[in-house]
């Protein structure tokens, strides 16, 4: 096998992928064929199509597969029967050209609804579908973020609760559309209008003093809100309104600093804010609520002193927060590597910046979470990575997949892993050689065969034909 591969490499460019294609065609495997389809010459594709689209069962599988190549989905849309059309309309990988074709040939409202909410549907398709008789189709058009503003404005006149909700949340709804919707919609719709970045100022003003807490809460979440309104909402008697205001990215630091907040729920959200003064951080680090301390332990502006203080917390989750804090100094990481709680140790073991001393302490572990984290860490010694690749637990072994520095021995073990998902995932590892990948073309799992074939085709490489 090794000889064959190196021979083939010398022929690279002349018969690129020919042996791979021949093998896939000889075996007649649907999934391997799907894997190489996009990477072969157009002339070969029609040969592959006989393998891929041979039976109706296979055509149905391909039409529903989000990993199917777009040009193949496009080909399938030509003269698709109802069963195929429905699957293609639903498949998020189906290209706009196929969607347009399906729209023209298909009257099933279910399929047309899928087309109207399809992420690849373009403005022209959506304009056409907005005139569909079926209300479900119109609802889907209203909810599609690609629907143009003039279509949204027209749909706003339809008396339908779901269309109104979709428009209140649509990025294409302008101020005039929202104002029109305000007069037609119920309280839920009004609440969403108030949260919309294009909401007219007059409506924002109404919401500021609205008795309905839903309106004030949504207003507090509007990123376009002005500072004075926001300050007023920060002192709202309802803590859910204050909570929404504290989360608003438009808020400046000082107002929060000045808050003397009684609700733990709101203080937890304060502890999550990106910019906090040293005073506030210190106060929150000693907050009586443990969730506040858990949040602040992760705050990047925490001082080394406060981190050291929280690293001695009785609560493992607070110490875990310190271990995950990007500002955590090396000496604390060493201390936390010897923490009694494995979940705290695992927090250190995930860090590429953990000092060698911390890693060597962690190597004593038998805990699955710590081993999993070490398995991902490029600073873990190679022989330990090989041991992790041999661990009893499939989830621990899989960590090797995510380690760009994993040694070949560990990678080859993963390529023969009993757990199919581990084999499917190791195929993507840059350091796994193509000879090992070629063995997986015979794998019992379709997902593994697909990934292996795709990888080999991408590399333009070719395993030897099996005798």
């Amino acid at each position: 096998m090794m000889t064959a591969v190196s021979d083939n490499r010398s022929l690279d460019g002349m018969c690129n992928g020919v042996a791979l294609t021949a093998r896939v065609l000889a075996v007649g495997d649907l999934y391997a064929a799907l894997g190489i389809y996009s990477h072969v010459e157009p002339a070969v594709r029609s040969e592959l199509e006989t393998v891929i689209l041979g039976t109706r069962r296979q055509r149905l599988i391909v039409a529903a597969a989000p990993y199917a190549p777009r040009n193949l989905l496009d080909a399938l849309s030509l003269g698709a029967d109802d069963g195929l059309a429905l699957r293609l309309a639903k498949n998020t990988s189906t290209p706009a050209s196929a969607l347009r074709r399906l729209m023209a040939q298909c009257s099933d409202p279910r399929a047309r609804r899928y087309l109207a909410s399809h992420p690849n549907a373009d403005a022209a398709i959506l304009v056409d579908l907005s005139r569909d008789d079926a209300i479900e189709v119109q609802q889907a058009v209203a909810g599609n973020p690609a629907t143009p503003g003039d279509v949204v404005a027209r749909l706003a006149g339809i008396d339908d609760a779901l269309i109104q909700r979709a428009i209140a949340a649509s990025p294409a709804a302008d101020a005039a559309t929202l104002a029109k919707l305000w007069d037609l919609g119920d309280d839920w719709v009004k609440a969403d209008i108030v949260a919309h970045p294009n909401c007219p100022a007059t409506l924002l003003a109404i919401a500021t003093s609205a008795p309905d807490v839903r309106l004030r809460r949504k207003l507090a979440a509007n990123p376009m809100i002005d500072q004075s309104a926001l300050e007023r909402l920060l002192t709202d008697p309802d803590d859910s309104v204050r909570a929404a205001a504290v989360r608003n990215p438009a808020i400046l630091g000082e107002e929060v600093d000045a808050m003397n907040e009684a609700s733990a729920r709101v203080r937890r959200l304060v502890a999550r804010r990106p910019k906090l003064s040293a005073d506030v951080i210190e106060r929150l680090a000693r907050d009586p609520d443990s969730w506040v301390r858990r949040w602040i332990a992760r705050h990047p502006d925490m001082s080394a002193e406060l981190l050291a203080e929280l690293a001695s917390s009785e609560e493992a989750e607070v110490r875990r927060g310190v271990a995950r804090n990007s500002s955590c100094p090396a000496h604390l990481l060493v201390r936390l590597a010897a923490d009694p709680a494995p979940w705290v140790q695992a927090g250190v073991a995930l860090r590429e910046d953990a000092p060698a001393e911390a890693i060597s302490i962690l190597l004593n572990t038998s805990d699955r979470d710590v081993l999993g984290a070490l398995g991902r860490n490029r600073n873990t010694p190679a022989q330990r990575l090989v041991a992790i690749a041999r661990h009893d637990d499939a989830d621990v072994r899989r960590a090797i997949v995510f380690n760009p520095a994993a040694p070949r021995e560990a990678l080859v073990l993963l390529a023969a892993d009993p757990y199919p998902l581990n084999r499917a995932m190791i195929v993507g590892h840059a350091r796994l050689d193509d000879a090992a990948v070629a063995d997986l073309l015979d794998d019992p799992e379709p997902q593994v065969r697909f990934s292996a074939a795709r990888r080999l085709a991408r590399h333009g490489n070719q395993p030897a034909l099996k005798p």
Partner: protein, 317 residues
């Protein structure tokens, strides 16, 4: 003119309420001239007869034996009832006890048989039952041509428990001889393990790739705490080290064995994940992608942003 018999079930001397649901199912196909009897095997069956004497029940057959569940004994009772009374229909609830005795009783007596029946009706002279197939994706109407007696188990929590005061006569029936092969040794209550207990949890809130960043995980731990759920996750979250592997639901992870409510947020629903939770009766899926495969197994679907739903949800607890 024929007889319908319901096999009622008790546990530790206490009547299972699903027995009353089975009576409702049987009552629904009782025709003029038919009699409806309910058989109960217990240490003190007379003590349970009152609760079974609901509207429409003509007779309670009290079999004095033991409160222990012995499939061999119940099968012998069914055999004796078939031989003596030649009922046209026998109904019992689709409980775990019925799983043990109903198929054996049916095949030994050559009965027409179907389990987990969700609806029951007469079409002319024919008895027609409805049950689900292909993991609940289809329904089937089934009948029992050529069968004098049909045994059905009825899905629980579908039929209303029968009520209304009846005036059933109580008949004693001697426990038939049976070769008893099992012996009750005790009960084991579901584990109330501290810490992370996905298999033992009745309510799991689970997060998937949609959570996007380690910094966002903490708020779902907080939410789970607030709503009284155990936080679970899909494989990528545990692979990244964002949550302990003990929280990973699915193949190679944990099985949500005791779960009654599973709220999946931002979980696409890979085959591996579904393996650990698709059996749960109440699955709620929250996902921005309306085509995510998790919706195909959910009882309730929410197409929406998991963060928005999560923060709105907090306002209710």
């Amino acid at each position: 003119m024929s007889e319908i018999i319901v096999i009622a079930i008790q546990r530790d001397g206490e009547l299972r309420s699903s027995s009353l649901e089975a009576i409702t199912a049987a009552r629904g196909v009782k025709q003029a001239g038919d009699t409806l009897s309910v058989a109960i095997v217990a240490a003190n069956p007379q003590g349970l007869a009152g609760a079974l004497s609901v509207e429409g029940v003509d007779e309670v057959i009290a079999v004095k034996a033991t409160d222990e569940f012995q499939p061999d004994l119940i099968e012998a009772v069914v055999g004796a009832l078939v031989a003596e009374r030649k009922p046209s229909l026998i109904v019992t609830a689709h409980t775990v006890d019925a799983w043990s005795f109903a198929p054996a009783a049916a095949i030994k007596n050559g009965l027409g048989f179907a389990t987990d029946v969700m609806a029951l009706r007469r079409e002319g002279a024919d008895l027609v039952a409805t049950r689900a197939g292909y993991a609940e994706k289809v329904l089937m109407d089934i009948d029992f041509p050529g069968k004098d007696t049909v045994l059905l188990t009825t899905r629980t929590n579908v039929f209303e428990p029968a009520s209304g005061q009846g005036s059933a006569k109580v008949t004693e029936m001697a426990a038939p001889a049976a070769d008893i092969a099992t012996k009750h040794e005790g009960w084991k209550q579901p584990a109330d393990a501290g810490g992370i207990d996905i298999p033992g949890s009745e309510f799991i809130l689970s997060i998937g790739r949609g959570v996007a960043d380690e910094a966002n995980v903490e708020q779902f731990l907080e939410l789970a705490d607030k709503v009284g759920a155990t936080l679970g996750c899909s494989r990528p979250i545990a692979d990244n080290g964002w949550l302990p592997k003990a929280r990973q639901v699915g193949q190679s992870g944990q099985l949500a064995a005791s779960c009654r409510l599973y709220v999946a947020m931002g979980v696409s629903g890979s085959v591996q994940h579904q393996w650990g939770m698709k059996h749960v009766e109440n699955i709620v899926a929250v996902n921005t992608d309306p085509e995510a495969s998790i919706f195909s197994i959910a009882r309730y679907g929410i197409v929406g942003d998991m963060f928005e739903i999560a923060s709105e949800l907090e306002n209710h607890f």
